[in-house]
Symmetry: C2
Subunit: 545 residues, 2 copies
């Protein structure tokens, strides 16, 4: 034993399990009277957010919630949802936020699987909750959430949220988890096939990811954060914790509505927000009448999911938004990568800058490494920006694993890497670029076609608002690219399948161009992702017509 | 066992011991060709800093350095010193940086106590090293560091640094520590009485403190950091690691010289730096001829140690420096507190703002709590900004403990708090304000007098450049305040002991005013702190004259 291991143990003075709950405790002292939460005309300061969260933790503890007990919630981005991100962990429980757009069967499956003890339901989702509860094997305690901003639905359950809070002690002496590896939340993957998997986060990872997010998003002192990213999606990329650590203001938002977004940005001098590329699209294509002036310093907007088409990035920059491109998955607490700007890119022309920015980027500080592996051999592929393989990563902000699914956990962590399931290339500068979700690659006549690449081109057409490309079965080629396209409202309607395909063929290798084009609105998930599995089904049905 | 503890263990994909070495690994990939280090005309990029640090780790490992082995260094802020902050931890060794202004007896004591296996010595300190080695019981391997910017001294030892590096493998497969609680460095306190104590840092704390420093200093993307704070002082407040994590440029500096500081700020567009209040004083009082234009965005300067007199803060702001006030100790990895600016202070007048800024402030994100305890009863004092007690804190960036000194460790951590030994008041807004080091308080006629308060007043006198106040034994009062004052060079020499005391009595309670004033230069430590123990001795001798 070395001299440095003798009499130098952990004690209460020099060690505490990492937990993001401490960020709120600190904020309540350092920023006691700063506005923590805004919702419509309601404003609460950090002292109030903390005492309400403590009362919530206390009320939960009185109901028997403790370590490893699941507390589910079906709600949009309201003050109650934010409080649950602190109150549940402070009670030692596990927060399970549920996607509000799911069907009752899926919600019932999740809550049974998670053995939910308590369910919080916003009034807008009363019917979904009731239908889910009738399908469940066990019955959690139900607490309804009322909201002045929501006229629809009924407040269901044993009691409403405010009554429940009044049963708790606002000075509750909450405890840190005994072990920072203890679970803090459960997020189900959107799972397009089979049952969704339950991704488990721990206190340590949530703490570290929040620190990393402050740095990556450059939140600075007292940011104003607009809640466009659903908190039920990877716990809102851990921003309930990060924004609180930075002493920022949480600007709540029930619905992603461009008019409301512009109004809130203007009214609350929003400095930071996030969203899927479709959210950017919505902001970009909002009618002139709902647009409002942005704060002088502009608004930083981080966009995840698929790479935003370069035309969208350029349009947003013109409006005064600073677009940062992120990449992540539920399994890595939200964003694991960001396309960090390099000073030498300042000298590139617009097109050169867009090509750099279209890449998913480099791992954040808490992800120790990433690489691209050949999907057949498992070998690391050359860093040439060309060779496609699976993007893998490892580090302290990778999930604990999948709940009650050791086989899936083992598969995801095979070889000491987390396997993203996304196909990517590695550039010589360590920037990863996603070429496709494994299932989104189109194999036509033995050639791999990146559906993202075809979409990127389609977005450059002046009449195209949104586009998604999937494989359509073909007897001759195996598969061919099939494009689903939603046109801008102001387009003159002259664009046809033939003229759009011709336009593509002038700009891209012919084998990559869509063979079929279908016009109309695109189906989306609650987080704004285009539902490609729905489009794939449609493309298959086209074949049988 | 809860469902969240089954099949959800740590593995290579989702867990890695926290260590700041990973920041350099990442920087070498993400910022490969960005300038990492500047020293005179020398520039090295991150790829080079990483490969040199790996070669260093490899060379050390070949010499048998491993977990718990001490590697000492006597050097100023040079590229080699920076490399040692990565190479030693990557070898699993413990970095022991030694204050270059100590005498050979103290240095010999430290190295024997730490059982140093290797000693790196910059040529300027060859004589100090030789004298120390002759007094040591054991003999470490000595490696000399040459430096083109240093004409003095000789390069001593078995071989020089570059030769030593050439024995190592620049692609060395270094390992993270098996446990993040493993020691990373050893910093001796400046200890004014008795033998210095060896403060042990661990990898986890260094990692977390670096993250916290990026946020507290608001380093942003690619900062340019001027090395005015000695790296042998709390490992340069953990900035070797923080600046690297942020992909910044380390601008090296052998000596704190105002002309050189202005030149480097101008030449390398320095964005951030730190320093004791005396460094600020030096910059402020530098002759016009050596002053250079600052970068347009100004320079953020963090100042620790004693609270900077408000006149100094105001003067620096006028020059274009943004002054942040920090507080910390060796035992807490450097700064544990910073005087975080509150937006409502924008509305205060200059004097009001200065009063707020003069306070040491709130704990950083990685310190979980702080309070002020009554030194007699151990009870928490009222948060009234009036009641003096000892400032205590706890969290993950508190040292492992004192090396080979369990009694001192236990005393420092008594009651689950780290005891700072500093006397402070707690304001109602959770900001701590240091009133004095315990030993610096003056007790006169039963009244406690804060020497800092008297100094603060003296600094407001237009002719005073520096002032320090200590207790002078007095038969009648017990103690009286004795002021040591260094006048500005441009003062006309008309100020006398009597007129200065009179000036004080017009502005402060009479019992607090100096009873004695001694004019002349003040003795300082290598880190620019005024050596009050020397002044206390002088004050005692005055009594016997």
């Amino acid at each position: 034993m070395s001299i440095y291991d003798q009499g130098l143990d952990k004690c209460a003075a020099n060690y505490a399990p990492l937990t993001p709950s401490t960020f709120l405790q600190r904020a309540a002292r350092v920023y006691a009277h700063r506005v923590a939460v805004v919702h419509g005309d309601l404003e609460r300061d950090y002292a109030s957010l903390y005492s309400r969260s403590r009362a919530l933790a206390s009320a939960l503890a009185q109901q028997g919630v403790g370590e490893g007990d699941t507390v589910s919630v079906i709600a949009p981005n309201t003050p109650e949802m934010l409080e649950l991100h602190f109150g549940v962990p402070m009670s030692q429980g596990v927060l399970n936020t549920i996607n509000t757009r799911l069907d009752p069967a899926a919600v019932a499956f999740m809550m049974d699987f998670a053995e939910a003890k308590v369910l919080f339901v916003d009034r807008a989702y009363a019917q979904l909750a009731k239908d889910s509860l009738t399908q469940m094997k066990s019955q959690p305690l139900v607490i309804g959430i009322d909201d002045d901003l929501e006229p629809e639905g009924e407040v269901i359950g044993e009691m409403d949220y405010e009554e429940f809070l009044s049963t708790g002690d606002p000075e509750f002496d909450w405890q840190e988890p005994a072990d920072e590896w203890q679970a803090i939340s459960l997020n189900f993957t959107s799972g397009t096939t089979g049952n969704p998997k339950g991704v488990v986060y721990h206190h340590r990872g949530a703490y570290l990811n929040a620190m990393s997010a402050i740095i990556a998003f450059n939140l600075g002192a007292s940011p104003s954060y607009l809640w466009t990213v659903p908190m039920f999606h990877c716990n809102g990329w851990c921003c309930p914790w990060a924004v609180t650590a930075a002493g920022g203001t949480h600007v709540c938002l029930r619905k992603v509505d461009p008019a409301l977004i512009y109004e809130l940005i203007n009214r609350h001098s929003v400095s930071h927000m996030g969203g899927a590329p479709t959210v950017l699209n919505m902001i970009l294509n909002a009618p002139e009448t709902v647009r409002r002036e942005l704060p002088a310093q502009g608004v930083s907007i981080s966009t995840g999911g698929a790479a935003p088409p370069s035309a969208v990035i350029a349009g947003m920059q013109k409006l005064g938004f600073h677009v940062a491109h992120l990449y992540g998955l539920t399994e890595v607490y939200g964003p694991s990568h960001w396309c960090e700007w390099q000073t030498e890119w300042d000298d590139l022309d617009d097109r050169g800058q867009m090509l750099k920015m279209a890449r998913q980027g480099v791992p954040c500080l808490t992800i120790n490494d990433h690489c691209v592996l050949n999907t057949e051999t498992g070998e690391v592929v050359p860093e040439d920006g060309q060779t496609i393989g699976e993007l893998v990563m490892r580090g302290n902000t990778v999930m604990k694993g999948y709940l009650k699914n050791p086989a899936a956990t083992e598969e995801a962590f095979a070889g000491g890497w987390f396997h993203s399931g996304d196909l990517a290339v590695m550039h010589p500068d360590y920037y990863a670029e996603i070429k496709d979700r494994s299932k989104d690659i189109i194999i036509s006549g033995g050639e791999n076609i990146s559906s993202l690449e075809v979409e990127e081109l389609l977005y450059q057409h002046p009449d195209v608002m949104e586009a998604a490309v999937v494989a359509r079965p073909d007897d001759n080629w195996g598969e061919t690219p099939c494009a689903f396209v939603c046109l801008k409202t102001q387009s003159d309607g002259s664009l046809t399948e033939t003229t759009l395909i011709e336009w593509c063929r002038e700009r891209m290798a012919h084998f990559k161009c869509p063979k079929t084009v279908v016009f109309g609105p695109l189906p989306k998930t609650s987080t704004g992702k285009i539902q490609k599995f729905v489009l794939r089904e449609r493309a298959e049905q086209l074949d049988t017509l």
